[in-house]
């Protein structure tokens, strides 16, 4: 194909270089008895459909409605989150902090991509880019602006550089005009970015009806 200048690389049957390399490695490892394709399918399925930020949203909504749970979460997030059935890989050492009008927390991993998988799922691409990793520690308000968020000058911004096994989850401020809402309804306002600190919880007017 490389010597065919007219070859159409947009064709649906064409394998990209990475498709081909990854398939070749999977075939080799399967033939050697080192991986089981069914296990690979299971891993992909789990991170595509089972583990994701809806879990963190449930944790946050419970913290908004249950003061005892909130206190437990901030004191020992790993155990508090495990009580809701969420734990495991990349969530062995969870730390939860509450965002307030005085202090806004944001997490980044400047060296790689450390992220609390059991409560937020796999990180989005932007979280893993040099652009975010470079800018978050030096200019977090600029990052917030990239997300369309402006905070008061009086709010302190604390950026957590999570570069190994401590993984951070933030409890965003509960939106106004949500008195009487139960945790299930409140969870619909908890965005992934609000738990990373690059966003805020949604306003009730933006409630997503499921």
């Amino acid at each position: 194909m490389a010597d065919d200048p007219d070859h159409d690389h947009s064709g649906g049957s064409e394998l990209s270089e990475m498709d081909a390399r990854v398939r070749a490695l999977e075939t080799l490892l399967t033939e050697r008895g080192l991986v089981d394709p069914a296990a690979l399918d299971g891993i992909v399925e789990t991170y595509e459909h089972e583990i994701g930020p809806h879990r963190g949203a449930q944790v946050v909504a419970r913290a908004w409605t249950d003061p005892d749970f909130r206190e437990w979460l901030v004191r020992d997030a790993t155990t508090a989150v495990a009580s809701m059935g969420y734990g495991g890989r990349a969530g062995e050492h969870l730390i939860a902090l509450a965002n307030t009008p005085e202090v806004h927390n944001m997490v980044v991993c400047t060296l790689c991509s450390c992220y609390p998988w059991p409560v937020l799922g796999l990180p989005p691409v932007w979280y893993k880019t040099p652009a975010y990793r470079a800018k978050a520690v030096r200019d977090p308000r600029g990052v917030l602006a990239d997300f369309g968020v402006t905070l008061p000058d009086s709010t302190r911004i604390r950026v957590w550089d999570s570069t190994s096994e401590q993984r951070y989850l933030f409890v965003p401020m509960r939106p106004d005009d949500t008195e009487g809402w139960d945790a299930e309804r409140l969870a619909t306002l908890v965005t992934r970015d609000s738990m990373i600190g690059t966003g805020l919880a949604s306003a009730p007017s933006q409630e997503t009806v499921s």
């Binding site: 990854v22 296990a39 992909v44 595509e48 730390i95 470079a134 570069t163 401590q166």
Partner: protein
């Protein structure tokens, strides 16, 4: 190692570009790379610190020009080559899905007991040592030589710098105390930077010294 992965504070990468309705994987091969990495990692031929070190030790031009899962793939090829898994030097059997599922759900804590008391407590002023380790490290260049305040004591855990031995050598999991250290943004980025910003870095005790 002062690698190109250590990008905190660099100013050449432009704006952050969030993507709406982002898929978990942008191509099928990305999911397979994640799965291959987790499935081969479960065979025990290397640990997570060796795995991170393999990614961060890629040639700088390869690292910076590769997408995230391509970095994982390039590193995985290197790990497999050095591990003995492909030539029978390290015997292993594929994990089934139930075994793999249990491994993903399990809590593999990095905490380890130590007889040594922590040298620092919350509120102590500490300096991040001016060090440039030749091997694996988790101390970002941006804080080296700077003075900050201990804000959390995380416990005693496996020390990545010692854990990331060359593949095939026994890892040293002797723990060290790890802390969150808060630095003033203006100390890190100069007097013209945002005075409302602080940066908290997870730092192991060997990275720190008492500051007067």
């Amino acid at each position: 190692m002062n690698g190109v992965h250590d990008v905190g504070g660099m100013q050449c990468f432009g704006a952050v570009r969030p993507e709406s309705d982002e898929p978990v994987f942008h191509a099928e091969w990305e999911g397979r790379v994640l799965a291959l990495t987790l499935a081969t990692g479960a065979l025990g031929a290397w640990n997570i610190d060796q795995s991170r070190s393999a990614r961060e030790s890629l040639p700088p031009a390869v690292y910076l020009s590769s997408s995230y899962y391509r970095i994982w793939f390039e590193a995985l090829e290197g790990l497999l080559g050095r591990s003995g898994l492909l030539d029978g030097g390290f015997a292993a059997r594929a994990r089934t899905w139930p075994e793999m599922k249990s491994a993903l759900d399990a809590s593999n804590s990095f905490a380890r007991e130590t007889d040594s008391p922590p040298q620092f407590a919350v509120g102590d002023r500490v300096r991040a040592r001016m060090i440039h380790p030749a091997g694996h490290t988790r101390l970002p260049r941006s804080v080296r030589g700077q003075v900050g305040t201990i804000v959390l004591v995380h416990g005693s855990q496996v020390f990545p710098d010692r854990d990331a031995v060359p593949i095939g050598e026994p890892a040293d999991q002797t723990p060290e105390w790890i802390y969150a250290v808060e630095f003033s943004g203006t100390d890190l980025w100069g007097p013209d930077s945002d005075p409302t910003v602080t940066v908290c870095v997870d730092a192991w005790e060997p990275y720190l010294e008492a500051a007067s």
